[in-house]
């Protein structure tokens, strides 16, 4: 007979259970998912062994959705129903995106929310829904290969993503039915993958050259806080431009009419092969249509040099924004498949005066960093020192008279943070106030990005300037914002979780969540019940662990008894009750542990302070 295991006192009931978590790089062109297995972070392949999932979604009339390689097959043959580069639409208004080249003007339409949407044979699809399909495909891949449900994911977003774009990403995850542990910025994830967060303090540059976009981010690591000092780049510059330039050369050599689209398409494919071959080889033979020839690396370099130089111009400008010289950068992290091109590495090395970091596959580095962070957040690592702190990338403000933007939280403020500011009425007897939330660094509201508008009504009529309206901005650890407005004399309150102007409201998300589950409604119910049971289990484990740790010192006998009773009740209902009953029982436990949780927090602060005093001596 096997021996029964008894857990150590003070530890959670099942301390060594490895929880499943993953990091997701949700890219414009390609997406990846990675996880930490036996202490090593690695990206997960599909059944055919491919790690990269093209960020392409295809819809058919009968409602079949395909994602990735199988969707890519339809890019030319069924362009109308095939959506690529959806990331460029996330959190944007229709007007913002009409000029984007990937979307023909007639492909985009306005959805009820002011968001752009794509008309397909399967109905109108908004960017959040489309992204959720990509997330679902990745999550399924991970769950199939890990053999269990993911407890949560970390999703990466570009450093310059504003509030609306972050919210849209989080909404997509919610619709995909996956818990987001945290959103982190792509350059931060890349830095984490290289372990720069645990290294010495200093300035790091993340050079990210993808297929169609170039991003350069300057990060400063100080006391464990990654601060984004500046970001720059070009949203229409990438490895595809290398292919285009090489294809142009081939077409010219073969003397083919430039307007022959078919030949040009073939030249593009050939160009890509040539580029990839010349990464390792010094020279390649080329058979292109009737033309036979060769290309060596020097020739290719001369063809693509102007494009690489463009990236360096962006680097220079961004360093200037950060107030830095190239020599002050400690590490340069290379991200994106196009950084494999030798000329890119050479030029970057010359420009910064030191060798860039290239050990980790540049396609995978962001996903790997996200996976490492997910592993910490889910609680698999007890490395107390790894704490990734973030700042808000763009100032948050409010519109004041004359169309001016008043900053309430300046950029680079560490999050989470809450700031309040008082405003007053402009006219005698004014009973309502419009609050316009904006984001950006510019003085004028019209130059900033409009995030949300709402109204505070029911202000008692007073003379102009007498009312006191306190507007509070609260930003959580993911960089998501909640705004409340309150008239402080009378206490009239308007509590509004700001949903960005181009976002989805809760009902829309719920309805998408329902429609996204292709099965019958019962399945949906069953899934919600299971989720609620998991939540109940999580609450019970957390409280038990807390009781074991310091229930004796912080609680009286009666208090402890009350909590234990609530737990027993919850455990019973979790096995026997319906969704609502479990929800209710969780609330009862929450209520009974409110004071205990707060005492624990205070105790841990006191402990940390004492520990600190000792360290100082």
């Amino acid at each position: 007979m096997a021996l029964l295991q008894i857990s150590e006192p003070g530890k959670s009931t099942d301390p060594h259970q490895h929880k499943l978590a993953a990091g997701i790089d949700l890219g414009t062109t390609n997406s990846l998912i990675a996880t930490v297995r036996s202490g090593k972070a690695e990206t997960l392949p599909d059944l055919e062994g491919d790690h990269i999932l093209p960020s392409i979604v295809h819809y058919t009339k009968d409602g079949t959705v395909s994602v990735g390689k199988s969707a890519k097959l339809f890019v030319c043959s069924d362009a109308k129903n095939t959506i690529s580069s959806v990331k460029r639409l996330m959190g944007r208004g229709l007007k913002d995106v009409q000029k984007i080249k990937e979307f023909s003007a007639n492909q985009l339409t306005a959805s009820g929310t002011g968001m752009p949407a794509v008309e397909t044979d399967c109905g109108i699809k908004n960017p959040v829904e489309v992204s959720s399909e990509i997330l679902k495909a990745l999550v399924k891949r991970a769950e199939d290969s890990l053999g269990g449900e993911l407890g949560g994911v970390v999703i990466t977003v570009p450093a310059y993503f504003d509030e609306a774009q972050r919210q849209a990403t989080k909404d997509a995850a919610q619709i995909a039915g996956v818990k987001v542990l945290r959103l982190i910025s792509e350059p931060t994830a890349a830095a984490v993958a290289y372990g720069l967060d645990t290294g010495s303090e200093g300035i790091h540059a993340i050079y990210d050259l993808g297929g169609g976009t170039f991003d350069i981010s300057i990060l400063r690591l100080e006391k464990g806080v990654f601060e984004v000092m500046a970001t720059g780049g070009d949203s229409a510059l990438g490895g595809d431009d290398f292919d285009r330039a090489i294809a142009g050369y081939l077409v010219e050599q073969a003397n083919i009419d430039k307007n022959d689209r078919g030949a040009y398409q073939m030249a593009m494919i050939k160009a890509r092969d040539v580029k990839e071959a010349l990464t390792d080889k010094e020279s390649v033979e080329i058979n292109f249509m009737h033309w036979k020839g060769s290309m060596d690396r020097a020739l290719m370099n001369s063809i693509i040099a102007p494009i690489v130089d463009k990236t360096l111009v962006a680097c220079r400008r961004t360093l200037k924004d950060a107030g830095l010289k190239a020599s002050e950068v400690q590490d340069i992290v290379m991200v994106g498949g196009s950084t494999r091109v030798p000329l890119v590495r050479e030029k970057v090395e010359t420009y910064f005066g030191k060798k860039p970091l290239t050990d980790i596959d540049p396609d995978k580095v962001v996903a790997i960093g996200a996976a490492i962070q997910a592993d910490v957040l889910i609680g698999n690592k007890t490395d107390e020192d790894m704490l990734l702190l973030d700042v808000i990338p763009l100032s948050l403000g409010v519109e004041t008279m004359g169309g001016l933007a008043e900053k309430i939280i300046p950029r680079n403020t560490p999050i989470p943070i809450a700031r309040a500011q008082e405003f007053t009425t402009y006219k005698d007897g004014q009973t309502a106030m419009a609050i316009h939330v904006v984001q950006g660094e510019r003085e004028l509201v019209e130059d900033c990005r409009s995030l949300a508008r709402f109204e505070l009504r029911g202000i008692p009529p007073m003379v102009a300037g007498a009312a006191r309206i306190k507007v509070t901005y609260q930003v959580d650890a993911d960089g998501l914002l909640k705004v409340t407005a309150e008239e402080t004399i009378t206490g009239v309150k308007s509590d509004i979780t700001v949903k960005p102007s181009y976002g989805l409201n809760d009902e829309q998300i719920t309805s998408m969540l329902q429609s996204s589950v292709s099965h019958a409604e019962e399945d949906m119910k069953a899934r919600m019940l299971r989720e609620q049971q998991v939540e109940a289990k999580r609450v019970i484990e957390a409280v038990q662990a807390a009781l074991a740790e310091n229930g004796d010192e912080l609680l009286s006998k009666d208090e402890r008894h009350a909590i234990e009773e609530a737990l027993k009740q919850l455990a019973y209902i979790a096995d026997n009750g319906d969704i609502e009953a479990i929800e209710e029982a969780i609330k009862v436990v929450d209520k009974s542990t409110e004071e205990f949780a707060s005492r624990r927090m205070d105790a841990s602060i006191a402990k940390a302070l004492v520990g600190h005093e000792i360290d100082e001596i």
Partner: protein, 177 residues
């Protein structure tokens, strides 16, 4: 058992004083965040997450005030006397008013030219004045009873010097183009 809301100094286990070792404070912030940051509760219940979010917000808020000499002085004065100097307030100090005008004029002349070293010299001068003002502030806050008139004046001066330093930075950006 529930304590009244702690003030910013208490949050960091400090006596309410003007003089603060900012690098030490920053290290302390990190130690505290290590035990209360929402990332530590990513897989806990909603209640714990809310609580940790509140605490972290409070700590970040407190740090932003304490690390900044002007905000710290304003906060400390408000804490000790209830006087709020954060809102518009005027101080009657003709002597300083004159000095202010002269310094502003000097800055305008320098930023009108194109000699960056002159601007740097000016920056050094203002920094020295600022340091001087900070030590004066420390002394003023140690007096019993507090001379609130003098404190208000001192805060006003410190605020002016701070503003001038940030204007110098802007002028530098312009000069460097």
């Amino acid at each position: 058992m529930t304590k009244a809301q702690q003030n910013y100094f208490e949050l960091f286990g400090l006596e309410p004083n003007f003089s603060i070792d900012v690098p030490k404070l920053s290290a302390k912030l990190r130690t505290l965040l290590n035990s209360v940051h929402p990332d530590r509760f990513a897989s806990s219940g909603a209640q714990q997450q809310m609580l940790s979010m509140q605490k972290t917000t409070q700590l970040n808020d407190a740090f932003a005030v304490l690390k900044h000499p002007v905000k710290r002085a304003q906060y400390l004065l408000h804490l000790k006397t209830g006087i709020d100097t954060a809102k518009d307030h005027t101080v009657n100090d003709p002597e300083f008013l004159m000095q202010q005008l002269e310094l502003r004029e000097e800055l305008e002349t320098i930023s009108g030219g194109n000699d960056i070293s002159q601007l740097h010299q000016f920056a050094d001068k203002i920094s020295a004045l600022e340091e001087e003002q900070e030590s004066r502030m420390t002394e003023l806050f140690q007096q019993e009873p507090l001379d609130t008139d003098e404190l208000e004046k001192a805060i006003y001066k410190l605020q002016f010097l701070h503003k001038t330093l940030s204007d110098i930075e802007q002028a530098e950006d312009k000069l460097l183009g």
